[in-house]
Symmetry: C2
Subunit: 474 residues, 2 copies
């Protein structure tokens, strides 16, 4: 798909396909040259065929010095959308290049939830400038949005939605949409409230378009509504979108008053972020929000080292057990320690990752713990017996018969096989229990997964091995 | 939020909040009793306050024998939506309870992409009944949809969208929407095509609502369009939704003709599925699509055992190296093997999970491999030195000084510390390289993550340990 076209070829292309950053990034220097050579018309002609998300990608790659000029050349109607999509570095550069009037006029274009997101990333001096250049009304809204609890619905909602009175007709509603649509994040789901802003129902643009103009809204509005509270966790909110397939979801305060809406694109961001956070935590990494290649090496180091240290220290427990082992038991048994530890760890991880995701998706509830144990007990028994038998067979066939290692007797193979079977069963139970306990005591289940399971299963498998082997090999 | 209300209290509740499955599941027996006692009006009054996704959850829990009766009582306008949301078991039960006329009338209500999803899960006899009871036109469309490659855009697209001619006015477009809206999956993004169905541009319902009625569509349509091909991978499609925040995306065939659209709710399903597949693969589990508690124990066993077996066999490599180790080196060194193996494995996992996710999200490209190595080399160096020093200090302080273990000399501590440092650097490089190689040769990077990294890093750390220690301890 990506041919190497020059700008004229891109523009004269008959196809309706937009010009994307994939095509333009390799040509960024030429694009900047257009600015340098003051060939602004050409620049604008190209850029107006590029979707805003791609312009943002370009702007992120542009050198600091060119960013304000690049941004000023964007058509006004898309500039604010681009601004929201770029990284906080680039945002800071561009704001620094603005005079107060320019800043005020761009803030006027932004949705308030986006303004709040930007404020949260900016240094104090820039925040002061933003607040100073906001309208009085927006300032108090921003202040309110900034005070919702971390990761709550309040922090991702937008306050720009379409609101109707129940006594309006479809015609009045459509007229109202026409007059306010430009400032609203979505017009496809609209909300009917009473004079105190309490939610009465929802009306979709589809309902409006297919109903006759004289119908009363109260006749077509949906009165069974799924809504969330400002303080609900955003992961809970994202779950509602997954379950119901909504385009938007209303947010109410403690008095059931409609205070905002959350749109599906924000929900997708949450779904993505939450999954990435779980991936990171399960691998023993402190989650960061910036993409890998844009995170500084020192930040990558900082996100990884605490867990490595913690896990290294806890792994020394295994060493202590092993020293006991070595002093008292035949050394041939030590050979099978890595295999026991690895297989136990893998078994535990399988269970823990399954449970962590099940909890996170709401497919498993804490109250299901008995069901979970009973399942994992049976799965563990099946896996344990299967792997134990294979390990016994493998040791007898390869180490004993083929390699002719006389120290590896059938008793060694049996002890290893039995230890392995029991280790796997215990690993499955630990792997499924730790996430449930973590969730119960208010910890994030993802944090106890993988590395912690490995470390604890390691220690347990060694102790087990010791007790099973000691009657025969001490 | 969940008080224990009876049905009358639920219905007389003043709030607009819908009745959800959380409230009704504990009362499922009472609900079924209403059917048994032929109190249908009450049943319908309750069920009409329940969103379709929640009705589907209830229906999944209802006993087989009651499913067809439960389903028949649903208001006709929501029945098809519920049918799409329930599990394939329940779908089969309900179809079995249908006569041909009922089946044909429900098939008429379904969107074709949903029909195809259902067909893919049904046994051959049911598929035949479905095909036989579809209209001639639908039959050929179904056939076509069934033949797109696995996981391609063609398999998740819907063919029911709103299409305009470029010479229509806004008034004609709105009239057209009014007449067809009921059968279309979305009316919020509409498509302008030429007589050969080639895509010319898109028009949103918002554009139509805010433009004056006499405007020509060609004046308001967006002509720079992001579209996908029928054969594009669905993960690629989901990425477009994440990047652009669309509500729908057009799908064209090889001749650039519009053949369908993909809506954001389907994209969310893909995003979710793809993340869950990666979670499963990284934990050494064959992905399954059913929720954990609904998967049979034997299926759980089958999804886990192949990887455990494979990994157990590969872990025996470590045993072989260890036996060599034991025969030739001082036994005190073996004590630190678990710590070396675990820390190396954890370091490698951190890098591999980061890379697997980066590749999957498109944040890292295969061409970035040099950048990646250079980053991981530096991160590995920092982590390696830091952990090596801590390990040296810990061994000297605790094992040597406090525990007074004379065998643990400063030379032992040094050898362990140095081995650990180098192991970590190598682990970071392996962890970041394997996913890139996997991606290069067309394997799924997630499959080589976690367990395979652990196994290979184990072996390498042991070999390294051996070579570093042997000059001093053989």
């Amino acid at each position: 798909m990506q041919e190497n076209k020059n700008f004229d070829e891109m523009l004269s292309d008959e196809s309706v396909q937009a010009i994307t950053s994939d095509e333009l990034l390799p040509k960024l220097d030429e694009l900047i040259a257009l600015i340098d050579e003051k060939r602004y018309t050409e620049f604008v002609r190209i850029i107006s065929e590029v979707p805003t998300a791609d312009i943002a990608e370009l702007l992120d790659e542009v050198e600091e010095a060119y960013r304000p000029r690049f941004f000023r050349l964007l058509p006004k109607e898309i500039a604010s959308e681009v601004f929201v999509d770029i990284g906080s570095d680039a945002q800071e550069d561009i704001i620094a290049g603005f005079n107060d009037r320019e800043l005020a006029s761009m803030l006027e274009e932004l949705y308030l939830d986006d303004t709040v997101d930007i404020i949260e990333e900016m240094p104090a001096s820039v925040v002061k400038r933003i607040i100073r250049n906001s309208t009085h009304e927006n300032r108090s809204m921003i202040n309110q949005l900034l005070h919702y609890p971390k990761d709550s619905a309040g922090t991702i909602m937008t306050t720009e939605y379409v609101r109707f009175r129940a006594d309006m007709t479809v015609r009045e509603a459509l007229d109202h949409i026409r007059s306010v649509a430009i400032d609203k994040e979505t017009i496809y789901t609209c909300y009917v409230t009473d004079p105190y802003r309490r939610l009465l129902g929802i009306v979709t643009a589809k309902d409006l378009l297919i109903s006759s103009l004289d119908t009363d809204l109260s006749d077509i509005m949906e009165e069974s509504v799924i809504y969330v509270n400002t303080t609900d966790d955003k992961e809970y909110v994202a779950g509602k979108f997954e379950k119901y397939g909504f385009l938007a979801l209303p947010v109410v305060d403690a008095e059931q008053r409609l205070v905002g809406i959350i749109t599906v694109d924000d929900a997708i961001d949450v779904i993505k972020e939450e999954a990435e956070e779980d991936f990171a935590k399960m691998a023993g990494i402190t989650p960061t929000e910036t993409p890998y290649l844009k995170t500084s090496v020192i930040s990558v180091f900082k996100s990884r080292i605490p867990w490595l240290l913690l896990l290294m220290i806890s792994a020394t427990v295994s060493s202590t057990i092993l020293s006991f082992f070595e002093r008292n038991l035949a050394s041939i048994l030590v050979l099978f320690v890595p295999m026991l530890m690895d297989t136990g760890g893998n078994s535990g991880n399988q269970a823990s990752v399954t449970l962590v995701r099940g909890l996170s998706l709401g497919e498993v509830k804490r109250a299901d713990f008995l069901k979970v144990w009973w399942r994992e007990l049976r799965v563990g028994l099946m896996c344990g017996i299967c792997l134990g038998v294979v390990a016994f067979g493998k040791i007898m066939l390869i180490d004993h018969l083929i390699m002719q290692n006389d120290e590896v007797s059938w008793l060694v193979a049996l002890v290893v096989g039995v230890t392995l079977s029991i280790t796997i069963m215990i690993a499955k139970l630990i792997g499924s229990t730790l996430p449930l306990i973590a969730s119960k005591i208010g910890l994030d289940p993802a944090v106890v997964a993988s590395p912690f399971i490995t470390t604890s299963v390691d220690a347990i498998s060694l102790i087990l091995y010791y007790f099973i082997a000691s009657p025969f090999f001490s």
